[in-house]
């Protein structure tokens, strides 16, 4: 195994992590600020991907598709927040789980109704196709590089938002004490809608970017949703820093696990058993990681103990 293969895998893990960060940032904010478990976050990812595919086909431009995904997901987020989510803040987690689970069914079928049963086409724009030549002989996909860059920029943007702007102050205050900021005259419902829409837009963006190199199909959001929950739990609810660290950790563990575990077992087992056990363990790796982190730190790496 060469150094360049190893490093390429590290980059892949980073890219996967960055995509997870985009998904998790929104989720952790919504949970941290509003105390809401939102299982429909994966549907917002799907809506972003479908909008991007539809607009990109219609106009021929990937970039317009990307903008469409941000807008469509944000608008969907706003509508869902006002009509449904708003009524759930005061309810307990169970009701939130049930309502947002129902939203998953609704959105998935709505997409199928509108767009049909077959996956949609979405492709990488020409200027980003092909590879970049990096040092040490690594050929890395330009598009994936873009994803990493977008992710890092988004992370920087979010940190700046949270720590340097008034909105960020309100968000942080809202995470600590909801009643207090209402008493201080902040318009809570606007704040919540904004946070929800922001999270939705990020999820939509992730969906569109990933849809170009994977597939745009109904149900694409659910596996990512589960991973996003794993990330925010590892990182600590409500913490953007935690979401970033958690996402990178999960991305690297998953990618390196899939790559290293079967090779490791091949050392002393037959190839087919090595593959069986290696692949099985690789699938379970992320969950083992999460369980281990929680056993060590029950509120995640950067979470506080208060729920």
């Amino acid at each position: 195994m060469s150094i360049s293969l190893f490093l390429e895998q590290v980059l892949n893990g980073l890219q996967f992590g960055v995509m997870l960060f985009l998904m998790s940032a929104g989720l952790t904010l919504v949970f941290g600020v509003m105390g809401l478990i939102n299982l429909a976050h994966g549907s917002l990812y799907m809506i972003g991907a479908f909008s991007a595919a539809a607009i990109a086909s219609w106009t021929g431009s990937f970039w317009l598709g990307l903008i469409a995904s941000l807008m469509a997901a944000a608008i969907a987020g706003v509508i869902v927040e006002i009509v449904i989510i708003r009524r759930l803040y005061k309810r307990d987690h169970l009701d939130q789980v049930l309502a947002t689970f129902a939203l998953i069914l609704l959105f998935s079928e709505a997409m199928r109704w509108i767009f049909g049963a077959f996956p949609l086409f979405l492709d990488v724009p020409d200027i980003l196709s092909g590879t970049l030549s990096l040092p040490l002989g690594i050929e890395y996909s330009k598009y994936r590089m873009m994803i990493i860059v977008v992710g890092i920029l988004t992370a920087i943007g979010l940190f700046a938002l949270i720590s340097k702007t008034k909105l960020g102050v309100r968000i942080r205050a809202g995470e600590s004490d909801r009643e207090m900021i209402a008493a201080l005259g902040v318009d809570i419902s606007k704040l919540y809608t904004l946070v929800f829409a922001l999270g939705a837009a990020l999820a939509g963006l992730a969906g569109a970017m990933v849809g170009a190199i994977q597939s745009v199909e109904v149900g694409m959001g659910e596996p990512v949703l589960i991973l996003a929950f794993v990330v925010i739990v590892i990182g600590g609810i409500g913490s953007i820093k935690g979401a970033l660290v958690g996402a990178i950790l999960v991305g690297l563990t998953d990618t390196m696990g899939r790559f290293l575990l079967p090779s490791f077992f091949k050392i002393f087992l037959s190839p087919s058993s090595a593959t069986d056990i290696g692949s099985a363990l690789a699938s379970m790796m992320i969950y083992i990681l999460m369980a281990a982190v929680l056993i060590w730190k029950p509120s995640g790496l950067f979470g506080n103990s208060a729920k």
């Binding site: 895998q9 890219q15 996967f16 996956p119 590879t131 050929e139 170009a212 199909e217 990618t255 790559f259």
Partner: protein, 371 residues
């Protein structure tokens, strides 16, 4: 012990040339495209046929629902024949019980090896292929193209294992790498990096549905310029549009292609387009052939006499869209498996035949079947 097989199923209609068919297939959720195609092909063939009544139910790709629907079809609807299941795991749940209750099952898609070998049954007929077939043809094609160092990949589940086993059964070269990926995995960056580093001269993969779309797009982006071979499942008419240009030039194996020049197929393609406004896929052709097989058997034999009916089915005296079609002793097809290339015709991506992979191919499990 097996009191079930003593239960005699009374057919629904007094006229032995009429029958009731229960179709259990996937019509909702992800993967429903395949079920919809099979259903559409099946119904197209039966258009205007008043002797066959079809009851259709959606299994939602869940094995427990499929089992319950099968019970409903047999107990409430009192169907004579069952068909429709797309996925091997659902087939394994439904078929053994159904055939042991005296019902005929005609598979328009799933062909697990368990039902071709030790689990074969005189009531079970597979009208599509045995799961390994398309992969075997890919292996054969790799040899004829002179590939000697293939990198092969499939998801870590029984159909995936069958795929790589099938390929290796015919492929004679070395393996640059053999990977089992996680079922449902969408991101193949790690595997593609391994392909690049392995020094392979060709790639074979089986990644049905969204998995394959993701892999092909990412592979095309990676700049690795290796020939790719796979079974039609990742390159069928429904999925191709989502993969787009990334699939151009890929060779895929299939027992059917829309450009097969026999009368039945020419008519089928034209009729399908006229009726549904889209080009048919291999799944649609399988549904169509299943219906025609059934109709032909009903014409010549009486469903009340199951032995005669089974013989009529086995004769396969119908015009298949594939041209030559016959059954081997374990009720699986003997047919030619072609190699197609992905091309673009106008605005649409489709396939055209470039070679014959395997001629008159049966399957590897005939001897294990003690029928």
């Amino acid at each position: 012990m097996f009191a079930l097989s003593a239960v005699i199923a009374l057919p629904t209609f007094a006229d032995g040339h009429k029958a009731k068919v229960g179709m259990i297939t996937t019509l909702s959720g992800g993967g429903s495209g395949l079920g919809i195609d099979v259903r559409d092909g099946f119904l197209l063939a039966l258009k205007g046929n008043n002797n066959i009544e079809v009851v259709i139910e959606d299994d939602q790709r869940k094995p427990d629902i499929a089992v319950q629907l099968a019970d409903k079809m047999i107990q409430s609807e009192k169907v004579d024949i069952l068909t429709g299941i797309i996925w091997s795991n659902l087939a394994m749940a439904v078929v053994p019980a159904a055939v042991n209750q005296g019902k005929i099952y005609l598979s328009p898609n799933a062909g697990p090896s368990a039902l071709a070998g030790a689990g074969c049954h005189k009531n079970y007929f597979n009208v599509a292929w045995q799961n390994d077939n398309l992969h075997e043809a890919a292996g054969g094609y790799a040899n004829s193209e002179g590939y000697t160092n293939s990198f092969i990949m499939a998801p870590n589940y029984p159909a995936g294992k069958d795929a790589l086993t099938g390929y290796k059964r015919f492929y004679e070269g070395e393996l640059a790498g053999e990977i089992y990926t996680k079922l449902g995995q969408k991101d193949y960056a790690a595997e593609i990096a391994q392909i690049r580093a392995s020094g392979a001269d060709s790639v074979f993969f089986f990644l049905p549905g969204g998995m394959g779309i993701g892999f092909m797009k990412q592979f095309a982006q990676s700049g690795i310029d290796l020939p790719v071979v796979g079974p039609a499942f990742s390159f069928d008419q429904g999925i191709l549009q989502a993969v787009g240009a990334a699939a151009l030039g890929v060779k895929n194996t299939s027992q059917w292609s829309k450009d097969l020049k026999n009368d039945a197929n020419v008519k089928f393609v034209a009729d399908f387009q006229a009726e549904y406004g889209r080009l048919p896929s291999l799944y649609a052709s399988q549904g169509y052939d299943t219906a025609n097989l059934l109709a032909s058997a009903l014409n010549s034999a009486d469903i009340n006499d199951l032995d005669a009916f089974r013989l009529a089915l086995k004769k396969a005296d119908f015009a298949s869209t594939r041209g030559n079609f016959s059954f081997d002793t374990n009720n699986h097809p003997i047919q030619d498996i072609y190699v197609r290339e992905v091309i673009k015709e106008g605005d649409v991506f489709t396939n055209k035949i470039v070679a014959t992979g395997l001629k008159n191919r049966s399957n590897a499990y005939v001897d294990e079947c003690k029928m």
